[in-house]
Symmetry: C2
Subunit: 248 residues, 2 copies
């Protein structure tokens, strides 16, 4: 399983991804699912969920590039002229891997599951974030709902719905993404530490902060303890239901 | 969609169910999903999720009864000798409806989806709670994890995991079930008011409290406001991440 979350606020972008993969319940491993592409004029972040063989192949296709039959140019993720065209290239790479791998997967009764969060900025253009589906189509994050999730998204969605707005501080967005990750890990053991994250400030085109949270890391451990204690205090502080002797 | 939750603690049983049904997104209705069976020597609660035509048919079969070919006795839910045998009868009713309805549903490409929470007590026996699956098999709630859920269970699971223990007060269990319902309704519009619930005290064999929460009901509105405010305060109180200038 996987949980990745991206938040795009006024001041920039946060992307958080766990690292746990499992082939069945008895084969659990650690793989990086958050990829960062750094160039002088752009900073791109890509996180992956779904079948690891598919997502890795898609990333390899994006790195090797696909020749454009009309121009002869080798189109990679990092040489895309705009964020939109970069998202289109992810979609094409997904379809290319589908063409080569899906028949074999189908023969083994394995579904073609893969999703991507793709965000970042190219100098001169806006910061954007997309979620790319297994069919290669994609949606874009907007200010109304300034976050996107892939993988095991439900456990961590309530806190995002309540706390994330376009105008929150960039590091508050990171904090809320980590709370969302904590809620997910608490309820689904297939999502687990270490956690990778990246913070990209708007118009800076560099990753201001890239970090991996390992088990026992003090801030995240403290965040988990505080969140647990606050939730406990919160439900204890709510009065008991007043209904009495009502039937019908 | 549906969300139903049952909590079985030291002092008794709480069962909570929403009432929203939908046939597609554009056909939303209100149906009672929490059923209570009262007899002098027993109190049984049954909540349903899945395809409404299936769950209603199963309840009708349980009410009409199935003749036991060996004894000739008409076996209904309420005349079962024990809670375990009552759960078995739910399983048999599910299979009976499957035999009659599944071929037609399959022809229309509709899957046979139905689940039940079944709880209560028969005088002289223990209070028990079961979750019955579409295949008619079932599991029983234990003191380690004293709750069961059917339907849209993920949004409301984190608070149950954190707050429910075997020894909590019965009305605290109700309160936590209502918080769990609130989290679910907040993230999935297909789960909605009114909410039905029942509280059954152990060894009393009556429903001490049966109630329907309608939109605007003061306690539940206050609970929702307090929970929202407490969550907001909780994430605001957590310090911002201390990482600075880390890359790699």
């Amino acid at each position: 399983m996987t949980y990745c979350c991206g938040i795009l606020v006024r001041d920039g972008l946060v992307m958080v991804a766990d690292t746990r993969t499992n082939a069945g319940l008895d084969n659990v491993s650690t793989f990086r699912k958050l990829h960062i592409f750094r160039k002088p004029d752009r900073l791109l972040t890509l996180s992956t969920s779904g079948n690891l063989s598919i997502s890795q192949s898609v990333v390899s296709v994006l790195n090797e590039g696909v020749e454009n039959p009309e121009t002869g140019e080798l189109e990679t993720l990092v040489n895309a002229p705009t964020m939109f065209q970069a998202a289109q290239r992810i979609g094409r790479a997904i379809r290319r891997v589908y063409e080569s791998d899906a028949p074999g997967l189908q023969a083994a009764d394995i579904s073609y599951e893969v999703s991507f969060l793709f965000g970042g900025q190219i100098k001169g253009g806006p910061m954007r974030m997309f979620m790319v589906y297994p069919a290669g189509n994609f949606i874009e994050c907007t200010t109304d709902t300034p976050y996107l999730q892939i993988g095991e998204h439900k456990y961590g969605k309530p806190i995002l719905d309540r706390a994330v707005h376009h105008n929150i501080d960039l590091y508050d967005a990171l904090k809320i993404a980590l709370i969302s990750m904590d809620s997910t890990m608490r309820s689904n053991l297939a999502v687990g530490l270490p956690i990778d994250f990246v913070v990209v400030r708007r118009d800076a085109c560099i990753d201001e902060l890239t970090y991996r949270i390992e088990p026992g890391e003090p801030y995240f451990s403290d965040l988990r303890d505080r969140w647990s204690a606050a939730l406990r205090a919160a439900h204890i502080a709510i009065p008991r239901p007043p209904y009495a002797g009502k039937r019908g």
